[in-house]
């Protein structure tokens, strides 16, 4: 086996995994505060990419302004989704919330290409296309920069949880009723979590849009994001970081090594296998908190 190739695959897998982790960070944040798994996270990343493209190309704004504006717009959109849709679902069976987020996913997947056009949109955020050579390893510059930015955002969100509002959100995650009784506005904390989730989805959408263009296929990030969230434990942010690296490397190595043996397509199956194995062996993931159910 060619060790250079394996090393190259592993390194690019690490950065791609970090970019996946950014999508699943939003899932974890929303699950932590409100106990819902947002299956529309991939579609939200796609929406963020489309909105950025629309502001940059439609209004002719410079890219950094477009990105800022898109983040603000999507923060509002995330809060609206929580306020208008998910809040009404409190107390309903879990299948209802799953189906609702799936419905949002389907609708966004139709709405965005429908309004902005289905052709692939190029999103140029100023990353040069030329590959980077590190010794003998060839690294895609877009994934490298994307991975580094993702890492920065994940560390930032860890820091956020130690800030004043972050402590409030941790309290809500711990016990909603207790937070209520000490005067925390639980609804607002959950809404902010949804807004931040949408912001993270948007930044992931922009980074992925810069590497592969913006179209509906960005919503397929959902399965990988779910695999990372479940492997890391649905309520653990350090878990997202580690699981993101694992999923990225596993996927990259599978594509490079198993694909030639079975004739392609393993890239999409790695995430599913990881979900299944995690759930059967250790349902709460690597760092997730075990819930003890009382009758």
């Amino acid at each position: 086996m060619d060790y250079i190739l394996i090393a190259e695959l592993a390194v690019s897998g690490l950065f791609v995994g970090l970019m996946y982790a950014l999508v699943s960070l939003g899932i974890v944040l929303i699950y932590k505060t409100s106990g819902l798994v947002n299956l529309a996270q991939g579609a939200m990343a796609m929406t963020g990419g489309y909105v950025t493209w629309a502001i940059a190309a439609g209004l002719g704004a410079p890219m950094w302004i477009a990105i800022m504006a898109a983040l603000v717009v999507m923060f509002g959109a995330g809060m609206m989704v929580e306020r208008l849709a998910l809040r009404r679902m409190i107390g309903q069976p879990v299948i209802m919330t799953i189906m609702l987020t799936l419905g949002i996913e389907i609708m966004l997947r139709g709405l965005m290409p429908g309004v902005f056009g289905a052709a692939v949109k190029r999103l140029d955020i100023g990353i040069p296309q030329a590959p980077l050579f590190l010794g003998e390893l060839l690294i895609n510059r877009a994934t490298l920069i994307g991975g580094v930015i993702s890492l920065g955002l994940i560390v930032l969100s860890l820091a956020f949880f130690n800030s004043r509002y972050g402590v409030v959100m941790r309290a809500v995650a711990d016990d909603q009723t207790a937070s209520w009784s000490v005067g925390i506005r639980v609804e607002r904390a959950i809404a902010v979590a949804w807004g931040l989730g949408a912001v993270m989805a948007t930044s992931a959408g922009i980074l992925w849009g810069a590497t592969q263009g913006v179209d509906w296929s960005l919503s397929l990030l959902l399965v990988k994001a779910l695999a990372i969230a479940i492997l890391g434990g649905l309520d653990s942010i350090p878990g997202v970081l580690l699981a993101g690296l694992i999923v990225g490397v596993a996927e990259s190595l599978a594509t490079g090594i198993i694909d030639p043996l079975v004739g392609g397509g393993t890239r999409d199956i790695v995430a599913s296998v990881i979900i299944l194995v995690t759930l059967l062996l250790k349902p709460h993931g690597l760092f997730g908190r075990e819930h003890i159910e009382r009758v």
Partner: protein
């Protein structure tokens, strides 16, 4: 008014326990059935093959899924994969010369034996985690089917279904195919109507409400969770083979992807979780509302001279489908069946509303 209860006296327990104690309900069901039987003589071929046959098949599948979701309270995001197993098994058997009657049953058994693996996940995890596990299994089954040349005939290949006959009737024409689909749908609906009255159905309801409590009452959760997955997957497999034989006539892996699972889930939710009537309504709405809406926008666009972009028109079905799911969950979580039952309850005592208990 219509659903008159006055003058109906049940003098034996048997009368109380029958499926439709009210005469009007029986009349309604029988007249709908009569209409469905007469449909090939009343409707154009196009409507029969393009609307009624898919409606019956998707309804049968949604009924099978509803047994699991509404009956036993388990979430299944991989029903499309279960149907794929049944479809591929039966088509391969039919191609090998096995009569369709046996091939269907074998497809069902194959689906059931693999579907019970999905159920094994339900023993370990539940709620959102079960949803994820079944989602993952959907992708894995898709992958195995499309990557195994012995099953799918090579990647991107389609397998033709040879001409088949059921109980000596050749299923070539639309009319015969329609009656076949109607027969299967009728059998499954009859089963679903009756399952609630058996000990099996009651055990499933106990598991749905609270699995610990059911275990304490002496209902084996282990057995009934697996059994629910077994029965539902069996129905899925049989319907999968009907889908392949009656409607698709040439199967390829991408016809059974996650989209099919989500579509069936949407039918169950929009129709009404746990009701037998629901999937009939849900399948009709989810299948036809996007088409109707698309035609309507086309009509509006041409008659008012509006230029609707082609991309938008192409995506209207998807938007409508998502909006239907969201709208029903927000405004009528129990679906169309609940709307019907509200109407029925209203009509039961109309115009003496104060008499309603």
């Amino acid at each position: 008014m219509f659903y008159r209860r006055a003058g109906i006296r049940h003098t034996r327990y048997q009368d109380e326990r029958q499926l439709f104690p009210l005469g009007f309900d029986r009349f309604l069901i029988l007249s709908v059935l009569a209409l469905l039987i007469a449909a090939p003589f009343l409707l154009d071929r196009f409507y029969l093959a393009g609307y009624l046959i898919p409606w019956l098949i998707w309804t049968s599948a949604a009924l099978g899924l509803n047994l699991l979701m509404g009956g036993a309270g388990q979430i299944h995001l991989g029903y499309g994969a279960v149907m794929a197993i049944g479809a591929y098994t039966s088509v391969h058997l039919v191609r090998a010369g096995v009569p369709l009657e046996f091939a269907m049953i074998a497809g069902g058994l194959m689906s059931a034996s693999i579907g019970i693996v999905f159920g094994a996940a339900a023993l370990r995890v539940k709620g959102i985690y079960l949803a994820m596990a079944t989602l993952a299994m959907q992708y894995i089954v898709d992958f195995v089917i499309s990557q195994t040349p012995a099953i799918s005939g090579g990647s991107l290949a389609t397998i033709q279904v040879p001409p088949v006959s059921f109980l000596g009737i050749s299923l070539r024409g639309d009319t015969e195919t329609y009656y076949f689909a109607l027969f299967v749908c009728f059998l499954i609906a009859l089963f679903m109507l009756n399952v609630g009255r058996t000990s099996f159905g009651r055990a499933l309801a106990a598991v749905r409400e609270k699995d610990y409590a059911a275990q304490i009452l002496g209902v084996s959760v282990f057995k009934y969770k697996l059994l629910a997955f077994w029965v539902s997957s069996f129905i899925g497999g049989v319907v999968g083979s009907v889908l392949a034989v009656c409607y698709l006539r040439a199967i390829s892996p991408d016809q059974f992807h996650i989209e099919l699972s989500i579509q069936l889930l949407a039918m169950v939710i929009v129709g009404g979780l746990g009701s037998v009537l629901g999937p009939f309504f849900g399948a009709a709405l989810i299948l036809f509302a996007p088409i109707v809406l698309n035609n309507l926008t086309g009509l509006v666009a041409t008659s008012f001279g509006l230029a609707i972009p082609i991309d938008l028109r192409a995506h209207i079905p998807l938007i409508a489908y998502g909006a239907l799911v969201i709208g029903f969950l927000l405004y009528e979580p129990l679906g169309l069946a609940k709307i019907y039952s509200n109407l029925r309850n209203y009509m039961l005592v109309w115009p003496f509303r104060h008499a309603q208990r």
